[in-house]
Structure formats: C-alpha cells, structure tokens
Amino acid sequence: MSAAAGAGVLLQVESVSVRFGALMALSGVSVDVRAGEILAIIGPNGAGKTTLLNVISGFYHPSQGRIFFEGRDRTRLRPPDVAELGIARTFQNVALFKGMSVLDNIMTGRLLKMKGSFLLDALYLGPAMSQELANRAFVERIIDFLEIQAIRKAPAGRLPYGLQKRVELARALAAEPKLLLLDEPMAGMNVEEKEDMCRFILDVNGEFGTTIVLIEHDMGVVMDISDRVVVLDYGRKIADGTPDDVRTHPAVLDAYLGVTHD
C-alpha cells in the first residue's frame, strides 16, 4: 500500500449536491481525499460516481455544498482553472484527441507547463524551441514509463482500446498533477492489461507521490490497490473506509445485492 497515506487533506468535498432538473445526481456527499493516498469510489451504475468526478473537475457546479483544494475554496472554478490547480483526469469513454499522434496527445498534456510568447512560437526560435525540446524529453520519460515507445507516432484514434486508455493516462501524467482522477481506468480491459494498469497506478502513486482518486467496478482491483474506498448509491454516500471496512458494510452489501432500501 501507499507509503504516504494518512498525510493532510488535499481535496475536501463538503456536502455537495448536484441536481439535473428533477434528478438529484448527488445529494449531500462529503469526501476527504488525503494527500498521497489512492481513493477508490465504487457504487452501482447511476450512483453518481462520474458526476462526483465531474464536479471536482469543474464540468458541473454543485447546487449546494463546497469544494476545497489545498484548503482553498474552489467550488465554482471552470475545468481549465481546475487544471491549473494541479488536477488531471481520464474519462470513462476514452477522450483522446483522435486526430493527433500519441506523442502530440501527451505533449498536449504538458500545455500548462509550457509558457511562451506567441511570436517566438510562430518563428520556432530560442526559448520556444528549447522549451519544446525540454518538454519532449519529459514526455519521452512518461512514454518509457508506460511502455508505449512503439506507438509514439501512431494516430491516437487508430489504437486498440487498451492502449488508448494507457495513452490517456500518459496524457494526464504529463501534467505532473497533484491529484489524478481516473474514471474506470480498467474498463473493458483483459486480465493482463488490467494487471499492467494496476502496476502503473501503483507506480505513479509510489514514485511521484501523486494522489489518485479512481472509479472502478472490479472489486478485486479496488480491494488490491486502494487505501480507502468511498461507496455511493443513488447519489448518496453510504460508506467510507478501508477496503476491509467497506467489504463488510451492510449498506454496501444491500446496494450490491440489489436489495431496495429507503
């Protein structure tokens, strides 16, 4: 398990509610994400897991409740502002830039690390060029790390699904995030691919100390890699604790066995 677990709170979701018309996607959910931990969010379909991630990323704004990152209120930030705070994410249905090469996809992840003047960029001179090259070097390290050297120049849209997921992770890592949000990083993968992905997630957490929040359906994976598990059902949090706590929590059992409850 992760070494850094148990340090201070990085992200604080405070009784957040999200409403789409008549539907309450989230009602009063509070989650603390501690720096350095791997937190898994689980729950049946439609429980509000992705909505929670979307609220954290700034795609939706909560109708009630607040969100703090590193102690500062950031409830109403837009996604690009969220990115600037150091939060990166992947999507449930891979959201790669299909028309770009793998390399360019990952380079795009470096966007916020690259500053520049428009004119120098246009001429590709001096700082613009050296910055481009420095970032290229960084990206190459990620490519090595995720073992995708062979597909560097391939168009992202033509890769098999498992590799696309890996490239998307690479793109998120390129931003050197403090907090990484992974929406079902292992969905649709075979066993070997899943094992690879688990290894990468643990390595990212271990080597760079990146805090990770992930949504996952595979309970085996969740129990193996996460420090802590939050369970959502019908937009409410029904459990929050270590994998072992959650495994035996009665409400969780109900939810997963499909027993109705009010």
């Binding site: 990166a88 994410r89 028309g99 380079m107 966007l111 916020l112 960029d121 246009a122 001429l123 931003a175």
Partner: protein, 358 residues
C-alpha cells in the same frame, strides 16, 4: 530506392521535431523554394503569372488561414470572403492615407485589422458550435460586405465605389498598381505565402497548434488539460483572419488591381472552403494543393476539350465545374478526409519503399 530514409537516425529530439526530418525532403524543399522564386519570373509568360500563379499563391494564403481555423481548430467558417474584404479595404485605406508607408507594413497592418474583426465575430464561438457557428460566420460575411458597399468612406468617396491599388514599390521595384510587372507581384506574393506557411507550420506543430487540435478533437478533454476554449478559439479566429486579411489585400493589390465588394462575395468563401476540404483539412501542404487544384480545374475544363478535339459549350463547362467541385468534395470527405495532402503522403510512402511493394 531513391527515396530512402534507411541510415538516417535521429539522435536528438530537435531533429525528430524538424518539419522535414528526412534529408531528401529537405534538399527537395530547398531546391523547390529556390526554383519557385527563380523559374517563373524568368520563364513564365504574363498569362501564366497573372491567370494561374499569382491567384494560386493568394488563394493558398487564404486557404492556409481557413485551414488553421477549420482544419486545425475545428471551427467551420463561411465568412472567409468577409474577412478577406476587411484586409483589402484596410490596405486600401492605409496605403492611401499614408502613401509613404511600406506596402509590406500595409499588408501586415491590414492583416491585424482583419484579425481584430475576426475576433469580434469569433466571440459567438464560445456559446455556439458546429453549424450554428457556420451560420453565425455567414452573418459576418453578409454584414461586412454590406458595410463596405454602403459606407463611402471605405472607398475614399470614389464615385465608382471601387478600391484601386495605388502604385507602390518595395526596394525600388514597383509591386502594386497598373505599372507593376506580373513577375514583381508574383515574387511579393510568394514571399508572403512562404513566410506565413512556415509560421503556420511552426504554430501547428507547437503548443498553440496542439491546443487548437485538442479543442477540435475533444473539447472537454482539452479543457481539463488547461486549454481555455474561448481564448483558444479566438486566437484561431484572429490568426486565421490575419492570414485571410493579408490574402484579401493581396487579392486587390497584387492580382485584381481594383475591386468592389462583389469580389469578396459568398462565392469566395465557398471557394476557399473547397480548397481546404479538397486539399486536406488540418494540413499546411493541403492548403497549397487545394488552391492549386481549384485554380487549375477551370483552366483544365476550358482547355482540355479543345486538346482532345471536342468542343463543349461554355455554359456546360461552368456547370461541369460546379459538379466536379461538388462531387469531389463528397468524394474526398468519404474516401479521404485528409484530402490531396494525404494522397501525396501515401504516394511518398510508396516511393520510400519503391521498388518493393512493402
């Protein structure tokens, strides 16, 4: 085996990032650039320069501009003619108000003014997307043309309502106005398009180009990476309109000699869009191929039947031209959305392996 890259290893990221990573390409391009500067001015007759080469260069610049916006940033615009008109009228006003100002500066400033106008009309792009935006750019097209047509100040109150390129020199050579030789106008147009093609290439292979393509390919993913949609799209509108503005100024100053708003009507917007689609969306090279194609097809249709001993009625040729353009657009969108540029690339790959099939 002529076109081989075996034995060429890239040892630095710098060489891998180069525009033309293969030596043969670099040699060919360098020779090519030299050739296009020297050969036509020496050997092409006035008809070639005036009817084919000059319009080709100007359209290529406009197509580059639209390609940055539509091909790279994914924002469809049908207002190209309007933005070109802004450049043309700005160049006319500037060059007549400040006769001593270098025409090169005039062109650049006209581009900047067009860029500003482009930004204004790009603002709706935050709230509206896809064909909604296309319709909004049509509004720009119609409004701008109406404005230039209506306000006599734009034409210096000339009763004929036309803007006419005054005579101006660059380095002692007359490049605009009725006395400018076609060769001089050709070289000036070529310098502009060469410089701005290089700049376009630099932009699209770097930070800015990646943020455009990110917005184009998946806007939500782009946002969470830190791409600010409005700023990015507006930058695309600005740069695209800058290119189109210069192309518009050139259209009057280096090609038509004088013009009224009719020269910038919606037909021009579509023409440039055709170049981009047929040449290749999201390709700098494609902008050139598309422009060449659109300039050559009518000439081909006019002359080819004569060569084959046929005689087609003129009206029939024009109808055929429309059908060819329309049909090819559908063809390319279905078969090869990356257009002629992609076909060129495939040919190159074949050459690379030649004489082996794989």
């Amino acid at each position: 085996m002529i076109y081989r890259e075996a034995g060429q290893f890239k040892t630095t990221y710098a060489s891998d990032q180069a525009i033309f990573p293969i030596v043969q390409d670099r040699v060919v391009v360098a020779l090519g650039v030299l050739a296009v500067f020297v050969l036509p001015t020496r050997f092409a007759n006035e008809y070639w320069l005036q009817a084919i080469l000059i319009p080709f260069l100007i359209y290529a610049l406009a197509a580059l501009g639209l390609n940055l916006l539509t091909g790279y940033a994914g924002q469809l615009s049908l207002g190209t003619g309007g933005f070109m008109a802004v450049g043309a009228y700005a160049a006319f006003k500037l060059s007549t108000a400040f006769p001593s100002l270098s025409i090169v500066i005039v062109f650049l400033l006209s581009g900047l003014i067009a860029a500003l106008v482009g930004v204004v009309f790009g603002i709706p792009s935050l709230r509206i997307k896809g064909f909604y935006l296309a319709v909004a750019t049509l509004a720009a097209q119609f409004f701008l043309i109406w404005l230039f047509n209506k306000v006599a100040w734009f034409v210096n109150y000339a009763p004929s309502g036309t803007i006419t390129a005054p005579s101006r020199t660059v380095l002692g050579v007359t490049v605009t106005g009725p006395t400018a030789s076609a060769a001089a106008r050709y070289v000036l147009a070529l310098v502009f398009v060469a410089v701005f093609a290089l700049i376009a290439k630099n932009l699209v292979r770097g930070r800015i180009g990646r943020s455009w393509m990110a917005i184009r390919d998946r806007d939500i993913a782009a946002e969470i990476i830190g791409v600010r949609p409005l700023r990015t799209k507006l930058l695309a509108f600005a740069i695209s309109s800058f290119y189109c503005g210069i192309a518009g100024a050139e259209l009057v100053f280096l090609y038509l000699g004088s013009a009224e708003t009719l020269a910038f009507d919606i037909g021009l917007s579509f023409l440039v869009l055709f170049m981009v689609i047929i040449g290749g969306l999201g390709s700098v090279l494609g902008s050139f191929l598309g422009a060449a194609f659109i300039v050559l097809v009518p000439i081909f249709l006019t002359n080819a039947p004569h060569v084959m001993g046929l005689s087609l009625p003129v009206a029939f040729q024009k109808q055929l031209e429309l059908m060819v353009f329309g049909g090819l657009i559908i063809f390319f969108l279905i078969v090869e959305p990356h257009g002629l540029a992609r076909l060129w690339q495939i040919t190159k790959e074949k050459l690379r392996l030649w004489p082996f099939p794989h």
